[in-house]
């Protein structure tokens, strides 16, 4: 079987206590014995049993990643991979392992958040893709488990979050359209089960207000972030408000849906209507016309979420961490 601390102790002629201390870098071991033990451990190809250690220390050096909506109906989460890669990179430094939990909101048996985390004794968790109506939200508001949320504003003793500055980003996107001369600007927003939707609406309103453009309820519509959602909303909006010359979207997928709808209606983009998205997914640079959009630094969001979680686990105070965004100007919006 696998070699244990006991085997090393026998070979070295010391107690397991000493082996444990030597290997864990405690100061109260003579250099001589430490060296001997280390050498033997290496020769025996010893690898500590993290399970056993976890049982006694009550720390597993493992964090959970709880992700909802990995598969939305008809589409995979468009930038989960970037967030995931960032998280892995952020965890690597401190050698935390990652357990992936995918929650399916349509499923019957949803394990409560605390149970989910406690079953594997994760030291903390990152939570992504949750809707505001998800029952986990209420649990997380009162949890004792170190948690970092992505794009959901909850802050308490153990819970922090990271996100872009959505108000500012939407403000910039809308202001850009205004600067191009647009006055009748539609906004196809995400569903109102996402915190970012409200923040983006606020930024949109702010830009109108600052430029003395009256806000009109009929220019704003909530939908589900998907391409089909954008397609349908665009048709309806343009049909009912033909004076609209530009549409801002809360996701690139919706913007691409609008692009298709415009094409099908015989409208040219950007000549007849300007389109701006949000996210800067890979597809947005590949389509024609290239999509003007807000780039979110998803890798960085994941990275910082991981770093922040580690710091909370170590006892630091949770915060809201803002990741910079950027307006990416391509060809889908133009001056009028």
């Amino acid at each position: 079987m696998a070699v244990t601390i006991k085997d090393i102790a026998k070979y070295a002629g010391v107690s397991v206590t000493t082996v444990s201390r030597a290997l864990n870098g405690y100061p109260d071991v003579s250099e001589e014995t430490r060296e001997k033990i280390k050498k033997i451990a290496e020769e025996l190809n010893y690898s500590p049993n993290s399970i056993a250690r976890g049982l006694v220390t009550n720390r597993t050096h493992t964090v959970g990643l709880v992700v909802s909506e990995l598969i939305k109906p008809g589409a995979y989460h468009p930038f989960f991979l970037e967030i995931l890669a960032g998280i892995k990179a952020g965890l690597r430094k401190d050698k935390y392992d990652l357990i992936l939990y995918t929650v399916d909101p349509t499923s019957q048996d949803v394990t409560p958040y605390e149970k989910l985390c406690n079953d594997r004794k994760v030291d903390g968790a990152i939570v992504e893709g949750l809707k505001l109506s998800d029952p986990y939200i209420e649990e997380i508001k009162n949890t004792e488990i170190p948690t970092v949320l992505i794009d959901i504003p909850i802050l308490n003793d153990k819970v922090g979050y990271v996100s872009s500055d959505n108000v500012q980003a939407a403000f910039e996107a809308t202001s850009y359209l205004i600067k191009l001369g647009h006055k009748n600007i539609g906004f196809i927003n995400g569903h109102n089960d996402a915190a970012v939707s409200f923040e983006r609406l606020e930024g949109y309103k702010k830009a109108l207000y600052k430029n003395n453009i009256p806000y009109k309820d009929e220019y704003v519509v909530f939908d589900d972030f998907t391409q089909d959602g954008g397609y349908n909303c665009f048709r309806k909006m343009i049909f009912e408000n033909p004076e609209i010359t530009a549409v801002f979207h809360a996701s690139d997928l919706m913007a691409i849906g609008s692009l298709k709808a415009a094409q099908d209606l015989g409208m040219r983009v950007p000549d007849d209507v300007s389109i701006v998205g949000f996210d800067d997914i890979e597809l947005s640079s590949l389509i024609t016309p290239g999509l003007t959009t807000i780039r979110q630094e998803n890798y960085k969001i994941g990275y910082m979420a991981a770093r922040h979680l580690v710091s909370i686990i170590k006892g630091e105070k949770p915060r809201h961490i803002i990741i910079p965004h950027r307006l990416i100007i391509r060809q889908s919006a133009k001056k009028i």
Copy 2:
């Protein structure tokens, strides 16, 4: 602290032994005591400590997912999410948790495969995205850890694999082009560090042979599956062999690169040249012209990998599992 088996024993007035057996469904417990214990466990909101159990049973009910190349230079793994979603679904039934290991081949300290798995005592692992030259390959050939590979043919006492029938798929794609009247058919293949590349080349050759079309070395080129790779290969191939009227590709990304290159060279697709890809990634149905390609059922590949791993863990014999593919005909190839 969390409630343990000991607490339940105390409340129920029985020994921990009995509690353990009652909760684990052993037959040798009276129905009466079992009911009592179950009720108390429920009331106390007991949740077993899987760490402690793992220490004694030497089973963690956890599997690893080892993925290389999660981020290739300049691009994220295009269908990892589908595979992942399939794996999670396949694991759900048997309640296995998933630990995600991303290996970065460029990194210095690559933990040996067995050590990676043993550190967390996973019961088995699924391996995806490995190159043939990866040192893990040799390790896996001799491992005792239940393992299922995706797209890498290794079979032994504990190791099985799942893949599409790449020979047959490439055969079908090439035959389709031949049926359209093409005789000078290029093949932009993946790098020769992937098993699938050899299999697809074999299928390509087979189709030519069957139709009495001589195979020409200069019509075949190996590259790295990426869009840039396709772009450059296409330019070179068409420049040196202007008689080519159709090009088959080992990935959609490369096919899309060729599409771009053709455009830049003033060639129309499919009028001047026919293009066929492999994978059927999401993008392929969205671009113009829609890409004719081979669809791989990635979700299913992931799902079956998980199911097969569970069966190997339970002692069944590893196999090669073939997941059906399908030729998806869109607009990028036409009759001449």
